[in-house]
């Protein structure tokens, strides 16, 4: 390789960055986390009820209801994309899951004979294999999410359409399809496996809401994937400089399709979980949730220009939104204020980051 220089030149502009100017401490996520901690302290003094087990469980459950979808959207945002179809996707997956579950749990309907039979009394429905109905119906719900994600990814990565327009169209398409298949009526997960379904979606495990556990597992998985796999580096590379990534041999098209598929799957799973808590999947479920999800991602530090973001930020954003909502309820403030406040927080969070990067 090259010979070392005879006399190295020193550059005054090459210096070592201070610890608070680099890594996690320099990220918007850390500032928002700090704000969140402060908020917890304030809430502790403002309301004696805030730090009770019941309320914290409530908070944990509520933010888990958008946080899984936020993980998916954060991934898309890191690639400098956007997915507006997550709200519709949540509804559609939940609806398909509950419709498939109801269908294959009703003896006499085509296909149901593989899953259920009638007991001797002629009324009680018994599952052929306990749990199979649940698995099949959840897979059906995730299956449609997978297909929607593939269509999104194909349009964006292969056809080169803008992510905003593609997923805006998909928002409408998927919502419309939901109304078509349900005729506008909600559906209810029912049948012999419905109890499992409710236990797994709205139950409590080790004192924690089940959705919260799924969230933690998925967030850890996402952190590992982002920072310890080549796929994760490719996601950041595409968000940082897509053209350069293509010239470097990064499989840009494949990674982008995968990212939209993962996002749709996360939204689908989120919808299925929410429907378990609601006890039904109404056709207008999760309407405009995409805005909350994107807001949470952005507050948590995901940069819409791409290249920046992570699961911790996604969760911190969701928690912040929920704690504020919860706090306003406890403080008996008119709940309409919540939405206005969320908007202020989005702008302030991004503003703080801008001021910080100007100062650096």
């Amino acid at each position: 390789m090259a010979t070392p220089l005879e006399s190295p030149i020193s550059f005054s502009n090459v210096g070592r960055a201070k610890w608070w100017q680099s890594g996690f401490f320099a990220s918007q996520t850390s500032y928002v986390l700090l704000a969140l901690v402060a908020l917890f302290v304030v809430m502790n003094f403002a309301s004696p009820y805030f730090f009770t087990e019941g309320n914290l469980q409530n908070v944990a459950k509520n933010f888990s209801f958008i946080a899984i979808a936020t993980l998916g959207v954060t991934l898309v945002i890191i690639t400098a994309g956007i997915d507006l179809s997550v709200g519709s996707m949540m509804c559609f997956s939940a609806m398909i899951t509950s419709m498939v579950m109801t269908h294959i749990s009703t003896p006499g309907l085509p296909g149901a004979e593989w899953f259920v039979h009638l007991a001797a009394d002629g009324k009680t429905v018994i599952a052929n294999v306990p749990g199979l109905i649940l698995v099949v119906s959840v897979l059906a719900g995730l299956g449609v999410a997978l297909m929607v994600g593939l269509v999104n990814g194909f349009c964006i990565a292969v056809l080169g359409l803008s992510p905003f327009v593609t997923t805006l169209g998909m928002l409408s398409i998927v919502r419309g399809l939901g109304y078509v298949v349900s005729n506008g009526r909600g559906s209810f997960p029912s049948g012999p496996d419905a109890d499992y379904f409710y236990a797994l979606t709205s139950g409590v495990v080790f004192g924690m809401p089940a959705p919260f556990i799924y969230l933690v597992v998925l967030a850890v998985a996402m952190a590992v994937v982002l920072h310890h796999t080549s796929f994760g580096r490719y996601v950041f590379a595409i968000g940082g400089n897509e053209k350069a990534a293509a010239l470097t041999g990064v499989p840009v098209v494949r990674v982008k399709i995968e990212v939209y598929v993962i996002c749709a799957l996360a939204a689908g799973l989120q919808g299925i979980i929410v429907s378990g808590w609601l006890g039904s999947a109404p056709a207008n479920m999760a309407t405009s949730y995409e805005l909350n999800v994107i807001a949470a991602a952005v507050i948590g530090g995901a940069n819409l220009a791409g290249g920046v973001g992570g699961p911790l930020g996604a969760i911190v954003g969701c928690v912040l939104l929920e704690v504020i909502r919860n706090g306003l309820v406890l403080a008996q403030v008119n709940s309409y204020w919540q939405q206005a406040l969320v908007g202020v927080i989005i702008i302030v969070a991004v503003l703080v980051d801008r001021i910080r990067s100007r100062m650096a």
Binding site: M1, A2, T3, P4, L5, S7, P8, I9, F11, S12, N13, V14, G15, R16, A17, S22, H227, H228, T229, S230, F231, G232, R233, Y234, F236, A237, G240, N241, K243, A244, A245, A246, L247, T248, G249, V250, P251, G307, V308
Partner: protein
């Protein structure tokens, strides 16, 4: 000599305790081309930004224009003081017309509506004076880089600027366009403008400069009169040491040349490249010369599969190979260094570590997808030592490095793939003198170790300095090639003659 039009006395600028500029004195006269030189980070751009009003200097210094002390504040302050800057990246709006761009920020209006006709008429005389061959109503997007530069200059003249600062104006220009620009700059000098000319290209400075001021590490280290301007003197001032062997070429083309590594036959893309064939041998440095727009970069893109080819095929070491994406090219052993490292090469927000390893992540990964952090860190540190990359550590993001160090990081990424063929597109563009010399030495060492190297460059002294053989392109075709032999060294005139299609370019 006349009174100076611009005088700076003891101007300093610090950023958070780092002195970017230390008590610099600069005197510029009307009717003078004053060259400002220095490596990247030497303080040239800080000085320029003070003159344009983007930065406010530290208290203590003084700036006088035509003898009167001035305070230049805000982006419009420079223009108000009679100073216009033509930036390296031109600051025109491509979707607006020439006239609209020239009047941008100072639109003429009649009863609240834009006076388009009057604005078009208003820029006519200036465009004529500059010898422009386009209409005021032409959208800027349709203009070549050289023509856009004229629009920038027209904007400066239209604002009645007396001092014109040009920051590497020829970077994006072809040789012909550069010549026309030089003629224009001399004309403006004759008309009494003061021109501060910033460039890394020594030949331009020697040809144009009336005075040369050299900055190093924020200090003024020397100011040369016309008679004293010589390339070696300037380089010594800039780097603070002797650069005796600027172009390093130790590898022996005759003895060192190995088998044919890259063979491209009849490559075409149906538009810019028509039937190009070339070969590169192991251990050989081949130059690909030609004017801007001759199709050199496009040809490189065809070879690496970055754009689809309509005809032709490629062989590596005699085996035909089908390359459809840059990834396949890397697998086949062809690495390409882009000419536009900021927008097509580097991931500016990502660390040097990630930037260097990105092309080999998949190959290194354990179990097909888990990153091997130790190997990656080891490779990056070795690259830092081997290529002399100056940064605090491998975790620093690539965006904060100087041009030369960025280029070395990008080069490290390519070398990590251990390529058989290395295609370097303008490897020293926007790189300071010291780093240039180091990059030449890296290229030389790679050739010595048997890599086949194709260098695309618009810098003819560079091509002549480092290449064993030169292939010249003209209008999408190979116009000819010439070999360096002991009897006949390569000459700029011969290359230009081939590139322009004239018998005697220097006639």
């Amino acid at each position: 000599m006349s009174d100076p039009i611009l005088e700076m006395r003891g101007v300093s600028k610090s950023f958070f305790g780092i002195r970017a500029l230390r008590s610099v004195d600069l005197t510029v006269h009307a009717g003078e081309i004053h060259a400002l030189m220095g490596e990247n980070g030497a303080g040239k751009s800080t000085l320029m930004k003070i003159l344009s009003g983007a930065y406010r200097p530290d208290p203590g210094g003084e700036i006088r224009i035509e003898g009167r002390p001035v305070r230049i504040e805000g982006p419009l302050g420079g223009r108000a003081a009679g100073i216009s800057i033509i930036y390296q990246e031109l600051s025109l709006a491509p979707n607006l017309s020439v006239a609209e761009n020239i009047y941008l920020g100072r639109e003429m209006s009649r009863s609240g509506l834009l006076a388009r006709g009057a604005m078009r008429l208003g820029v006519g005389p200036i465009l004529a004076r500059l010898g422009a061959d386009f209409l005021p109503s032409t959208p800027v997007a349709q203009l070549s880089m050289g023509q856009r530069q004229l629009v920038e200059i027209a904007r400066a003249l239209h604002a009645r600027s007396k001092i014109l600062i040009m920051d590497e104006p020829t970077t994006a220009l072809s040789a012909g366009e550069s010549e026309r620009l030089f003629a224009l700059i001399r004309q403006l000098r004759a008309e009494g403008l003061a021109i501060i000319y910033i460039s890394h290209r020594m030949d331009e400075i020697c040809a144009l400069g009336d005075r040369v001021t050299v900055l190093r590490d924020g200090r003024l280290v020397g100011s040369l009169d016309k008679a004293e301007i010589r390339a070696d003197t300037i380089v010594r001032l800039m780097v603070g040491r002797d650069v005796s062997t600027f172009y390093k070429k130790d590898h022996d083309p005759a003895a060192g040349r190995g088998h044919v590594v890259l063979t491209a036959t009849g490559l075409a893309d149906g538009r810019r490249v028509r039937g190009c064939s070339l070969t590169v041998h192991a251990g050989e440095v081949v130059g690909l010369a030609g004017l801007i727009g001759a199709g050199r970069t496009e040809l490189a893109h065809l070879i690496i599969g970055a754009s689809p080819k309509t005809a032709g095929h490629i062989e590596i070491e005699g085996r035909p190979i089908d390359i459809r994406t840059p990834g396949e090219a890397l697998d086949a052993g062809i690495a390409y260094l882009t000419e536009d490292r900021r927008s097509l090469g580097l991931f500016l927000d990502m660390s040097c570590l990630d930037n260097i390893n990105l092309a080999v992540l998949g190959r290194d990964a354990k179990l097909g997808c888990i990153l091997d952090r130790d190997t990656a860190r080891d490779r990056a540190s070795k690259a830092f030592t081997a290529l002399g990359i100056r940064a605090a550590n491998v975790g620093v993001s690539a965006g904060v490095l100087s041009g030369g160090n960025q280029q070395k990081v990008l080069l490290s990424r390519l070398l990590a793939t251990t390529p058989k063929v290395l295609i370097l597109d303008e490897p020293t563009r926007g790189v300071d003198v010291g780093a240039k010399s180091e990059i030449y030495s890296i290229i030389d060492n790679l050739a010595k170790s048997g890599t086949a190297i194709l260098v695309i460059s618009s810098d003819l002294p560079e091509i002549i300095g480092i290449c064993d053989r030169v292939i010249v392109m003209r209008a999408g075709q190979i116009a000819g090639q010439m070999e360096r032999t002991a009897a006949s060294p390569l000459s700029q005139e011969d290359i230009m003659a081939l590139a322009t299609g004239m018998e005697h370019a220097h006639a």
